[in-house]
């Protein structure tokens, strides 16, 4: 009886809450960002200014400096995170007595939220903190990890990497589990070393997973600003002032939402170009094989 009834109504009812949520709280904000970037607040009223917010960015040296910081930050953090999470995943999937304990320890940073990680690391990296104590054992003088122009960005990279690689490791584990053990057995019988097996079997077969992780990781890091917000507020001397933090400052400290949204739109556009390039370069190679 009920079989004759088309389930269209049911499909709509099942999908509606999720789709509505995603449209209102994910897609609509994106549209809003784009439209707000064409307006400025003048004496409490929104005034349409066309491309003014974008054009003024071009002449804005703070913006260019911030773009430079963002690109340099990403050029470092993404390869580092992916290489380390691959290494960690390889350690995770090994099988021997007691590995379960280590596996659990590798997952600890997932439970440690970014604010917790930041607070603990901030104290560890302070002038008389644990890190300076440890390097002091090797006779290295204490370093101003978070307060010097030359080190702050790298300290943030280290903290974000500590927090992030466990999460990316999980996805790579999925890819590793998908590679059949017979291939490894065959390679082993052929006398391939562990290193050769990694380069010629694991990494090529892992390509789709690595592409996914690369794209997702770049997206997150390109827009990352919570640790900067909590640790350095863009300083010292703007050395950690990534674009998303510049946008936040614009919108919430200087009340210039138009400029803030224009920066976010630019950031997302650059990100889309980068992601597009990654897909072309990495998928293209696979297609050619």
């Amino acid at each position: 009886m009920s079989r004759t009834r088309s389930p269209l109504l049911l499909i709509v009812a099942l999908l509606a809450p999720a789709i509505a949520g995603l449209v209102v709280f994910r897609l609509y904000p994106i549209g809003l960002a784009v439209s707000d970037s064409f307006f400025n607040m003048v004496r409490g009223r929104q005034v349409f200014v066309g491309l003014d917010n974008y054009l003024s960015l071009i002449a804005d040296s703070t913006f260019w400096k911030s773009l430079q910081v963002t690109l340099w930050f990403n050029l470092l953090i993404n390869p580092i995170q992916i290489a380390l999470s691959l290494g960690l995943a390889l350690l995770y999937v090994q099988k021997f007595r007691g590995v379960g304990f280590y596996r659990f320890l590798f997952l600890i940073p997932i439970g440690v939220s970014l604010p917790v990680a930041v607070i603990i690391w901030r104290i560890m990296l302070s002038q008389d903190g644990l890190v300076n104590g440890l390097i002091g054992m090797a006779g290295i003088p204490a370093q101003p990890w978070l307060t010097s122009e030359g080190l702050a960005l790298y300290s943030i990279i280290a903290i974000a990497t500590w927090k992030g690689i466990s999460y990316w490791m999980i996805f790579i584990i999925g890819g590793l589990q998908n590679i059949s053990t017979e291939i490894y057995e065959a390679a082993r019988l052929d006398g391939a070393s562990a290193w050769q097996r990694l380069w010629h079997i694991t990494i090529p077969l892992l390509r789709p997973t690595l592409l996914f992780v690369l794209v997702a990781d770049v997206s997150i890091n390109f827009l990352l600003f919570a640790p900067i917000f909590m640790l350095t507020q863009g300083g010292p001397a703007d050395s950690t002032n990534v674009l998303m933090y510049e946008a936040y400052k614009s919108g919430f400290i200087f009340g210039d939402m138009g400029r803030a949204m224009a920066i976010i739109v630019v950031v997302v556009l650059i990100l889309l170009v980068i992601v597009g390039l990654q897909f072309r370069l990495l998928n293209g190679k696979q297609g050619a094989r």
């Binding site: 709280f25 994106i30 809003l32 440690v112 939220s113 300076n132 999980i170 996805f171």
Partner: protein, 281 residues
């Protein structure tokens, strides 16, 4: 005779390598735990010059934990639990139903909508935090607890996890149940829900951890801070009581240990759930 010795050595080196890696992951949390269990004056003892005593809680004291609960930290934990659990339950229902619909039915525009959902979870929350603030203003939800919960219920990754799982369920089950005259809700309740418990666990953990770790959004959406969630409360604590180091560490330790205690027994589900998503994504 030489062989067992060599194997033993190799095993030893292997453990040494793993211990070195694990040390890096454990050290910050361990140090935080140790420091939270010391009297405040002793937190930075034994660091300059560094001795191994810095890594054991001697002298031992629980004053930090007593202190933070006197300052109302218990209320903040309760607030966060409330937000995280409502989000988790709502999210399991909403995203589970959507995943079920995508997996079981064919309809026009299905692939387009699925693609849109995948895009929605590839774009990190940070990109939309500022515009989402404008949406919340328009809805009049600023400083309302709904602003913390409702935007996080629908989750593209959770929809995707359920979709992937339900797709693998053999259609025979469904046909058999339908032939027996069961309606769709019976099918969902008696066939799909019981099968999907592992997926529910991994999606539930995902939603819970997401809310537990939320910092930026509660900070923007609740400007008056009448209702504090844990990450914001912790950051505020840091600004307010900067030099009560042991209490600051105690706050950080509790904030970290609650999700870790959840993840530990359910680790397998969490890893398998996410690992599967990466494969198809």
């Amino acid at each position: 005779m030489a062989r067992p010795v060599r194997n033993g050595l190799r095993l030893g080196f292997r453990h040494l390598g793993y211990i070195a890696v694990a040390f890096v992951f454990v050290l910050p949390l361990w140090w935080a735990i140790v420091s939270s269990l010391r009297p405040n004056m002793e937190v930075f003892a034994d660091i300059f010059p560094f001795t191994a005593k810095a890594l054991v809680p001697v002298p031992f004291s629980l004053e930090a934990y007593e202190g933070i609960f006197q300052r109302g930290f218990g209320q903040i934990i309760a607030n966060t639990m409330l937000v995280a659990i409502i989000t988790m339950i709502g999210g399991l229902v909403v995203n589970g139903l959507a995943g079920f619909a995508f997996a079981v039915f064919d309809f026009k525009g299905k692939n387009a909508i699925l693609t849109l959902i995948i895009i929605s979870f590839m774009l990190p929350f940070e990109a939309i935090a500022l515009p989402l603030y404008s949406v919340t203003l328009q809805l009049g939800w600023l400083d309302n607890i709904a602003a913390l919960i409702v935007p996080s219920v629908a989750n593209g990754l959770a929809v995707f996890l359920f979709y992937q799982f339900f797709k693998e369920v053999p259609k025979d089950y469904l046909e058999a149940a339908r032939l027996d005259g069961a309606n769709w809700f019976d099918v969902l309740r008696h066939v799909y829900v019981p099968l999907s418990i592992p997926t529910c666990i991994s999606a539930g953990l995902l939603l819970f951890v997401f809310q537990w770790e939320a910092f930026l959004w509660p900070l923007l959406a609740m400007p008056s801070q009448q209702f504090k969630v844990i990450q914001v409360g912790m950051a505020a604590f840091q600004q307010q009581y900067q030099t009560i180091w042991n209490q600051l560490f105690a706050v950080a330790v509790i904030t970290a240990l609650i999700p870790i205690a959840l993840l530990m027994p359910l680790q397998r589900y969490y890893v398998q759930g996410l690992a599967g998503a990466g494969l198809k994504g």
